[in-house]
Amino acid sequence: MAGPPGDGARPLLEVRNLRTYFFQDEGTIKAVDGAGLSVHAGKTLGIVGESGCGKSVTARSILRIVERPGRVVSGEILLRDDAGGETDLARLDAEGREMRRVRGGDIALVFQEPMTSFSPVHTVGSQMIETIRLHQRLDKKAAREKAIEMFRLVGIPRPERRVDEYAFQLSGGLRQRAMIALALSCAPRILIADEPTTALDVTTQAQILALLARLQERDGMAIILITHNLGVVAEMCDEVAVMYLGRVVEQGPVDAIFHAPRHPYTRALLRSIPSIHAPVRTRLPTIAGSIPHPYNRPPGCPFHPRCPDFMPGRCDRSEPPLLPIAPGQHAACFLYGDARP
């Protein structure tokens, strides 16, 4: 079983053995190939990884909005409600009524580029009012009041005027705030933020991260934060899952990931990031080679061609399963034993 359990309480969302493939004429891209995750209420799970690791596709799979020719091939996406009931989102009809109720109702999504998520011909307010009324029984006036209230909540100055503006009239930071307000307008239990600050400047990024932390404290929602920036992960997350070529290679509490990383990829990644604490003008340790193209995925452990601890005959033969190695920490690496002989 791929999904490592958290401490005690059952996770709000649990993804097991998720596989999402893209079937193209040139071949099949295994964008997500056996990923497992779990998220607890009120906590933040960070999914980190470089391009092509499948972190965004994982998020889209959870919401069942993978674009064709992509498809969730197998696995379970278990969403639990307060009463203890379970829904497997992987089995629902992606366009069906139940799934539509989950999207925007239970789980909301914040994109990297807020500009493209707003219609250019409608005011941000009208789009929010529409969303609110889609999920809640409110008349136009009440919905507008609610939109203004949400804008105020996410720290947009003069919200009464901003609701009547178009997305292009807002700055990047304000657009992202509006996007968050839109996502939160129906009080979701899980917020998936896909690279929410990547397109923003550092000072604006700091504002948005602070906002997300404040809103989580207030509403107790779970956040899945998808990013390539390890700094953002260290600042924001409780749990971290590190992905490489469609697989979760390590998952654990944030402190363990940063201070006791076990998987060679996590270790190498942490060493190779430029740090503001480093001495001036220093060379960085690097990871040899580059990320393989998803068409020619290496056999066995996907990281083995770049791994300093590569064991010939083992790592290139079979894929290591994600196994517990310390309390709450899991790694998929043969260095820490092997379930199969």
């Binding site: 400047d201 000072t203 390890l230 700094g231 953002v232 992960v233 600042e235 430029p274 001036v280 340790p285």
Partner: protein, 342 residues
């Protein structure tokens, strides 16, 4: 490594550089105002050092670097470049036909490794382009030179007949670096050379740039928004805000003891990759000022926690507070600001 800031000759000296972009409106395209992209910037670059220009989007760092290369013609100001042959030329006012010999000595590394390489040309064509354009060597000599350049940047010369789409982002960026080095330039302007790359590849390219500098005695003008990256490559750093330099100092001094409130906020805002350092961040309110309509006095005063009445009225000038440490802030000497501790 040591910082060779002192001693060297000044390769580049930029004085009071201005670039205004007109805002046109209406049917007759009348000019109704100007965006002050670069608004009176003064700095110099020593031979053999790396000067970083940092700041947030729209601060004018990219426009400044394009002016230095004269890819953009500045509105006013001086850009003195010391040529290899000796004479000092003003790039800002040089007639276009005299630019070509100068361009052999200043080259550029681009941000986007995808759009900066023509997809229809082989690596050989791409890297040899500056040689062909300047009529350097015979065809056989050029092939030899390209092979040498590819080896220099860590690519196999056998690849030279392939097209860029066969390569990853990091490898493409190496090709871009090889092209920039083809004519043995003295100054290399690197515009966000690693920000489009994956984390694990960033380190490879930064190391390559450091090695090449040591090996070839290059001078870098390094444009970046990521302060962590800047710390790994630069000797001195200039922080820009709305078209102006607000602080310029040696890297160590700027990071450990910033003297401008904006630098302090910028350093504090960088997410640190260590959960035990979840510091009390300084979160700046509001947005970056509009370069078409900047505030009065100090452009930063509406967002500054330390602003006093004077900041709203007087525009501070970039002045030395210590040798080699320049700050544009009225309160630079009285404030005790927090930097990055080791």
């Amino acid at each position: 490594m040591t910082t060779p800031a002192g001693g060297g000759t000044r390769l580049l000296e930029v004085t009071n550089l201005r670039k205004l972009f007109p805002i046109r409106r209406g049917f007759l395209r009348r000019v109704v105002g100007h965006v002050r992209a670069v608004d009176g910037v003064t700095f110099h670059v020593q031979s053999g050092e790396t000067l970083a220009l940092v700041g947030e989007s729209g601060c004018g760092k990219t426009t400044t670097s394009r002016c230095v290369l004269r890819a953009v013609t500045p509105t006013a100001g001086q850009i003195l470049f010391r040529t290899a042959e000796g004479p000092v030329l003003d790039v800002a006012t040089l007639p276009r036909r005299h630019l070509r010999p100068l361009r052999r000595q200043m080259q550029m590394i681009f941000q986007d490794p995808f759009s900066s390489l023509n997809p229809r040309r082989t690596l050989l064509d791409i890297v040899a382009e500056p040689l062909v354009a300047n009529r350097v060597g015979t065809r056989a000599e050029r092939v030899e030179r390209v092979a040498e350049l590819l080896r220099l940047v860590g690519l196999r010369p056998e690849y030279m007949r392939r097209y860029p789409h066969a390569f990853s982002g990091g490898q493409r960026q190496r090709v871009g670096i090889a092209r920039a080095l083809a004519l043995n330039p003295r100054l290399v302007v690197a515009d966000e050379p690693v920000s489009a790359l994956d984390v694990s590849v960033q380190a490879q390219i930064l190391n390559l740039m450091l090695d090449l500098q040591a090996q070839l005695g290059l001078t870098y003008l390094f444009v970046a928004h990521d302060l962590s990256v800047v710390k790994h490559v630069s000797d001195r750093v200039a922080v820009m805000y709305v078209g102006q330099i607000v602080e310029l100092a040696e890297t160590e001094a700027l990071f450990t003891a910033p003297r401008h409130p904006y630098t302090e906020a910028l350093l504090s805002a960088v997410p640190k990759p260590d959960p035990r350092l979840r510091a009390q961040r300084i979160v700046l309110e509001g947005d970056v000022a509009d370069a078409a309509n900047p505030p009065s006095g100090c452009y930063f005063h509406p967002r500054c926690a330390y602003a006093v009445e004077r900041c709203r009225i007087d525009t501070p000038r970039l002045e030395p507070v210590e040798p080699g440490h320049f700050v544009a802030c009225h309160r630079a000497r009285e404030l005790g600001l927090r930097g990055i501790s080791r």
